[in-house]
Symmetry: C2
Subunit: 434 residues, 2 copies
């Protein structure tokens, strides 16, 4: 078998068999197939796609290269949600505790941020002492006692995915729908989930920006999971403006805590409840969606979710006092206020620009090796649809270094569009595929 | 400037500016841009193409990385032809001497074979003593005294092309029409040609097999050359069956000599005359095509071309006696005859299969490092359209080693299609673009 023949076949729209997919992924994983042939194949796949059958083989091959967690001795249905990532998306910190409070076992896998803002892992790690680098026995023990646990997606979990992902990032193939499908599914299945709720983001701040592509991804995730006998629900949700008000790692922890106290921004609360209810529904198939929604609404209101979050922090070595005293979280030394240049309606807040601005402040990684600053970020005072006066505060920038401040401020100002008329409202959840 | 941004732009069908193309080609040439990003860009280009403007920039950047030969002190119009390569194509050995005999200065660049059979360089080098690794002063001296000279396309000539070509071969991007255009044009312009006749092959034995793609390549060559103020003519000629009867390096030298003695196979003679006449027409714009054709026909018949060929061999250190005594050329020790399994018409001789068979015998390179055997090859006794009897000889295989003989014979047998009815005749030259 020659890799160049497989590249040519994919390039010409042909299909690869199971053995050929194994030949490529195993060979690349072992370093027998060079990066330059792998990247050519990935770019060909970007253009010609992978069939659902190829995606099942691809995902299974990736899973075969690392020991999949066996959670059969952990009681309860194992369900989690996965978002394709967005600016200000801190739903994982709310949804996990909510679902666990409802009796679901939630084995969370959190990754570092790749672009823009920090990932869920970076957000959890902004809590002093929080350790997500658990070994399998610790992870299982946490799941047994708290009903949820967070493990860092790292080398051991899906090494082939990591290697392919790094190559995708460098070669303009990150946005390939089938390659995203395989990476997402294998990442989740590696920790032994029974069912998955996917939150596919669409809009300027999402990895996949166009609705047609987001729909293709949601469909692909649903189809391939079904072929692998895993139940899934895929939501397509808005990521054209940031989710919630806080963007930045510790700032997002604070907002998540506020949401679990009943003080969260409406969009964040709505999406978190929707996702949590979908998890409950997948975990307990005899429950209907309405009762699941009622239950998670109650669990958010009565402090059960926050209690679960406290338990999670404790069990993973973090300082649970941060919940009561936000000053125990990293905070920035400086603030800068961005005001509205004129009166009108906020017609757009480009999530893309806001993401780039917080990356410039140090909240995200501009290069893969970069250290992030957990304290910095932006808190929006207004969202799309709000009426503002000239000179009224649009947002506050929290920063520690002047290095890129000016550029960040300019980017934030560009992100806000103020128009004379109220914009049309966009839905928060566009579609649900099951 | 980040290469990943350029990859994404090409991937999405955008255009690159001159500085961006320079950034890529110069960076890749210097080793600052890794192979895996270059191959992703090449694959994106395979799918989205390069505009004529991009191709001019691309070609000029390649030419800027090596000293282009300055032939301004060599008298006469400098014109050569270039074929995209095919099985049994030995026209260069006939056309060069013919055009030189007609008063054109013919600076030939010959390359090694990449697939299948040997390249023109390998064919010339099967002549004992023939040295194509000339330096610029020797090359110019040969051009001045004989009116033609052959130089090996090597590292110094177009190093960026060579590096990109090797990557293309390994990554399934060799067949990209714009990348072929840039490679062909820069290769020819590097030796200081004023005008070029391109012979774009189409059919099973060609690099580009489909007529639509061949036409795209011919059009692209013509357009880009025009923008670079170089006159070209592009022929699209048949490469579905081998050209002439001999395939294999020394065997093709013998057939070329026979053609210059007036004993050549009709298709080889016809195409050689056509190409030579086109060269003469480009070199002397006041001449019409008919008179150019008459002239080269005469020069072939009266021995002038062969005399020029003899002069070329002498001046490049080869033994001109091979012309009179073929036994001075490398010859194989063994022969094998392939006969027709039944009576009928030869309806097809797959050039692709014949090419693979001679590669198996050792006449071509299966890997880039492989040594070729100049003596081995195949001589066809019948061509498409011929009527044959059962058991009649179809071709003779000349070989030195049994290693892949059986596979080669099988491939040759598969190459011949014998049908009950006479096949439709295909034209030798399909189109001429000027």
């Amino acid at each position: 078998m020659r890799i160049v023949d497989l590249i040519q076949r994919k390039r010409d729209g042909g299909e690869l068999g199971k053995e050929e997919i194994e030949f490529f992924i195993q060979g690349y994983h072992k370093g027998e197939i060079p990066d330059y042939q792998a990247s050519a194949l990935l770019m060909a796949i970007y253009f010609t796609g992978l069939t659902d059958v190829e995606l099942v083989d691809w995902t299974q091959t990736i899973l075969s290269l690392a020991p999949v967690f066996d959670l059969s001795d952990v009681p309860g249905p194992k369900v989690d949600k996965h978002s394709t990532g967005g600016v200000g998306d801190k739903t994982s910190m709310i949804v996990g505790p909510l679902a666990a409070a409802a009796g679901v076992t939630v084995p969370m896998v959190a990754s570092r941020g790749m672009a823009y803002t920090g990932g869920t892992l970076d957000k959890f790690q902004s809590i002093p002492g929080f350790n997500a680098h658990l070994r399998s026995p610790e992870y299982k023990a946490a799941l047994r006692s708290a009903g949820l646990a967070v493990i860092a997606e790292d080398e051991e979990l899906t090494p082939a995915v990591k290697k392919i992902r790094a190559l995708r990032e460098a070669t303009g193939t990150a946005e390939s729908v089938p390659l995203i499908t395989a990476a997402l599914l294998s990442g989740k299945l590696a920790v032994g989930l029974d069912s998955i709720v996917f939150d596919v983001k669409t809009g300027s701040g999402a990895l996949i920006k166009k609705m047609t592509d987001s729909r293709r991804l949601a469909q692909s995730l649903a189809n391939v999971a079904k072929r692998m006998d895993k139940k899934t629900v895929c939501l397509i949700s808005d990521m054209d403006q940031p989710l919630g008000n806080a963007i930045g790692n510790a700032l997002e922890v604070m907002e998540a805590v506020e949401a679990m106290r009943g003080n969260g921004p409406p969009d964040l609360v709505e999406l978190s409840l929707e996702l949590a209810a979908r998890i409950v529904r997948l975990a307990f198939p005899d429950r209907d969606l309405e009762s699941a929604k009622e239950q998670v609404f109650k669990l958010l209101g009565d402090g059960s979710a926050l209690k679960k979050f406290r338990q999670l922090i404790e069990i993973q070595g973090g300082n649970p006092q941060v919940i009561d005293s936000f000053e125990l979280l990293p905070t920035s030394s400086e603030e800068f206020v961005v005001s509205s240049p004129r009166a009108g309606f906020v017609s757009r807040i480009s999530a893309d620009d806001i993401g780039q601005a917080v990356a410039l402040l140090g909240a995200g990684r501009i290069t893969p090796e970069a250290q992030i600053d957990p304290a910095v970020g932006i808190v929006l005072e207004h969202k799309v649809g709000d009426r503002v006066q000239a000179g009224e505060r649009l947002c506050t920038i929290y920063y520690n270094s002047n290095a890129h401040l000016e550029e960040a401020c300019q980017t934030v100002e560009d992100a806000f569009h103020i128009s004379a008329n109220a914009p049309e409202t966009r839905p928060l959840v566009y579609e649900v595929l099951q």
